[in-house]
């Protein structure tokens, strides 16, 4: 269906897409609602990690024993995504496909070195987190592809996700994800970015807005990195 339509968007949880539609910031010609596709909401163990299918709600992943056991970093991260009422509807794959630079889950996938499975009439392919996020709200998915699954590797070492936001549940001004020695940042660049824990602000040019100056964001990155690696 996606292959036959011009300018179509996939609608899953809708917690990011529908606000954009309500504001007329996104005006796609077609919406393809995937919510009624059966058997696309599983959360299961695969290849030593946890796989989350396209229609698995964030709240279900938050409560998932598989996720808690294999990838508790994912469980912690989801607790920071908006509010439970939003998570009842929002999906993990949707957050990844939406690719908001200030959102938590893309940075978690990147820090862990996970990947996503995308499907189209042409077949299925894997996209590594490193290649997935190409710009602000932009991913490497082709217009006819739909993300069917995300794979988060097991966390074997120390992990942390820390962020600073004006109010609980708001988008972060800056955030830090630690998975062992690996680290990713969110809210400080057009995409989530990997960073060196010894020098986390190297090469960063965060934007400034009403809520935080660029310098304050860099300060937050340094403070949050220290905290994430203190333990």
């Amino acid at each position: 269906m996606l292959a036959s339509l011009e300018d179509a968007k996939v609608l899953a949880g809708g917690q990011s897409l529908i606000p954009l539609l309500n504001f007329r910031l996104a005006r796609p010609q077609h919406l393809v609602d995937i919510n009624r596709i059966a058997g696309l909401d599983r959360i299961y163990e695969r290849d030593g990690g946890v796989a989350v299918q396209a229609l698995a709600r964030q709240a279900d992943v938050e409560d998932s024993q598989h996720a808690a056991r294999i990838c508790p970093l994912l469980t912690s991260a989801i607790g920071l995504v908006a509010h439970r009422v939003i998570r009842n509807r929002g999906t993990v794959c949707g957050s990844l496909a939406h690719a908001d630079p200030a959102s938590e889950l893309p940075a978690v996938l990147l820090a862990l070195g996970g990947n996503v499975t995308v499907r189209s009439v042409r077949g299925e392919r894997l996209i590594a987190a490193e290649q997935l996020f190409t710009g602000v709200f932009e991913t490497a998915l082709a217009p006819d592809e739909v993300m069917v699954e995300a794979w988060f590797p097991e966390v074997v070492d120390r992990f942390a996700i820390l962020e600073e936001s004006r109010r609980h549940g708001d988008f972060a001004l800056a955030g830090v994800v630690r998975a062992g020695d690996s680290m990713a940042l969110f809210g400080v660049a057009p995409t989530p970015v990997r960073a060196d824990p010894q020098n986390p602000t190297a090469g960063l040019q965060p934007s400034a807005d009403l809520e935080a100056t660029a310098e304050f964001r860099l300060h937050l990155v340094r403070v949050l990195t220290d905290r994430a690696f203190a333990a």
Binding site: I18, N22, D33, A82, H83, I86, N88, R167, H168
Partner: protein
């Protein structure tokens, strides 16, 4: 879709938000609309028993599902739902605009955490905005609802 126990046809306009459908087509104006982008929480309803934002869903997506609005918690003349009773007793409302959303969120919160900690209460109501800033009374109301033994979601039956 079933709304408060009554089978209702979906709107013919596929672009209709669930919140607008409830208010304009079904006359269920207890569901309030504040920000229309998922921030204020005023339009919260139960979808198959779990609280969701009705402004972030198309009405046609509710086909085959069960919606409970504030009108469905206590039928006309029946005793108030324990969460409503608790908001009433603790003065958990001032102007009342945010109240239906708060009540529906708290019904969901208590279904998930029947005995919530103070932190769980704060997180549970953090997604709802009260511009009168009556949060202290609202928090008291949640604790009172726990005492009153709020059931998960007392579904209206017709």
């Amino acid at each position: 879709m079933k709304v408060n126990g009554v089978e209702r046809p979906a709107p013919s306009d596929t672009r209709r938000l669930l919140s607008d459908h409830l208010r304009h087509d079904l006359g269920l104006t207890g569901t309030h609309v504040g920000c229309e982008h998922g921030v204020c929480g005023c339009c919260t309803v139960l979808l198959d028993g779990a609280p969701v934002r009705s402004c972030l869903m198309l009405a046609v997506q509710a086909e085959g599902h069960e919606i409970t609005t504030i009108e469905g918690l206590a039928r006309d003349g029946a005793a108030l739902h324990p969460v409503q009773q608790a908001f009433h007793e603790c003065h958990g409302l001032q102007c009342g605009f945010c109240t239906p959303g708060f009540v529906m969120s708290v019904v969901g919160l208590l279904a998930q955490h029947p005995k919530p900690t103070e932190q769980e209460i704060e997180e549970g109501i953090a997604g709802n905005l009260c511009r009168c800033t009556g949060y202290a009374s609202i928090r008291r109301a949640v604790n009172r609802a726990v005492e009153l033994g709020a059931p998960a979601a007392r579904r209206a039956t017709s």
